[in-house]
Amino acid sequence: MDFAKIRKSNSFSVSIIIVFMVVVMCFFKRNYLSADNISALLKVLAVTTLVGVSQMISIASGGMNVSIGSVGAMAAILSGLLMQNLKVPVLLSILIGIGIGVLCGIINGLLIYRNGGVGVASFLTTLATNSVFIGIIYMITTGHGVSKIPDAFVAIGSSKIGPVPTSVLIVGVLITLVYFMFTYTSLGRQILAFGANPKAAELYGISRFKTILSVNIIASILAAIAGMLVVMRVGTAQPDIGSDWMLQSFAAPLIGGTRQAGGKVVVFGVILGALVLTIIENALVHLGVDVYWTELINGVVIIVIMAFDRLRSIKN
């Protein structure tokens, strides 16, 4: 591999920061790299990464999706209700959950297409559908969580294959698929082309309709899976799932080097971005930071990281 190229990349500088953060934490807290903590980190990382990847796909196509959280919640709540009330088998419920993702994706996609297609339209439309989805969730649940989730379902979240939590594995497989999609398939390249220059892409035969629809379906499927992963982790399906995904879904890919204007993705960079966010959250608890300081430190760390990345790229 070309080391000079790697050194210049955004991923490299983010990695340095991550290593630095971990080293500092190990210095302060002997048990920082304990198995317990690593597994705690990984479980959160899995969800954050998936949410980030979902958003990354929208960003890649030149759009934004602020309804990721509500789609995740929708899949989680509905599959949970099916399992609790109708005793639907676990596997079928998962499939239905994914189906709900597809459905939400189609709704989003159709409306985004109708409203014009790129950046602005997608932000506005998903802002609206997000409200609608949340409204539906709260109407269905009247604000109550679904607490009797079958053990078999929850077990997927707590089980491990070898030393690796299953959820991490699932996310690993999904992100690899997304990587292949963007690198080797026409669909992936079409999404990127459309994101970089929608007009040119359309003039040369890429269908706006198909692209927007597939982007939203894929993104929503990932969001739905993320929602169900949360249920596996938390043990109950609460209507507030996904309520704080919006910002992290943007932060993870953008820190990871995805181009905000669309057209360029760094798929595995999302993991790094998500890792940064996860470590900050985790470290604040480890260091026992006073509750009033957490927000401030959060903000400062993100700025420092981005500034560092920026400094390095200027030097290069």
């Binding site: 109708r114 602005v120 609206a128 409204g135 709260y138 109407m139 927000e295 401030l296």
Partner: protein
Amino acid sequence: MKRIKQLLQADLSSVIIPIITIFGLLAITSEGFLSSYNMFSIFQSVPIFVIVGLAQMIVLSLGQMNLAVGSIGVLSSVVFGIAMQNLGMPTSVSILLACIAGVLQGLIQGVMVTKSGINPFIISLALLSLYKGLALVITKGQPFSELNAGFSAFGNLKIVGLFPATIFIAALVSGIMYVLIRYRKLGKRLLACGANGVAAIYSGVNYDKTVIIGHAISGGLCAIAAILQVSRFGSVQLSIGDDWMLTSFVVPVLGGTLLSGGKVNVIGTFLGGFLMVLINNAIVLWGVSSYATNAAVGLILLLAYEVDRMRKKMMNNQAKSAVEKEA
């Protein structure tokens, strides 16, 4: 018929028509709607929506986003609280200091966006945490409730028994913003930077300066909104602004602001704020479960796009048929 058609085509129709429709429906179906209590309450909610919407609008006009509107509001109101309660400053000085704090925060955001080369979205995201965090660290979460009584009364002051005093502030701010955007050089420059930054530079506009000023104004507006909110609540609350982000986008967008930058509508934003409040009011008056509030707001937003699309389509068709007739 022709009149109606003309009205449908006007730029503001996508916000005025829903307002008239909802207003009319409410007036017919709900007897309490036109009561002075309800009217006063509606007008009392409008100012915050409008000013927060304007704060976002001005950044949208630059083609950027200000995710930190709420946090700027909190930190400014904390400055206000400290000035008034801890330092015993007179009301006017406290307000001034809060506004300065708001402008300063916007300024910092603007400078970082233009000079640091860091992704603007991330900057705004980080500042959202940072400002809020600063407010929390300074206050340890404690509210300021020993405010000047006259100031607190102002937020709930009735004029002619119907209008809250704050709505006039909102109208004034909107007026100033209207003139600024439409009749001052700065406004033109802001829109130019939003529409095409490079072309703006080649038109002799100082891009960085304009963007910084835009953010600073946005920060100042957040501070004004926060002060109005404080005067309505009668206390400085650390949760002020927690719910501003969504509002700040919905209001100008309902009012016809283009999110991609380069086109804004101040009057539309004002009316957009009014429409939002009306929708919220309708949901309660019609006894729709508040669980459905979100769904309703979303549907209305979708409907607004639909109305806008219809309007544009109609205009295009008319322009086309005009051409055909000519021939």
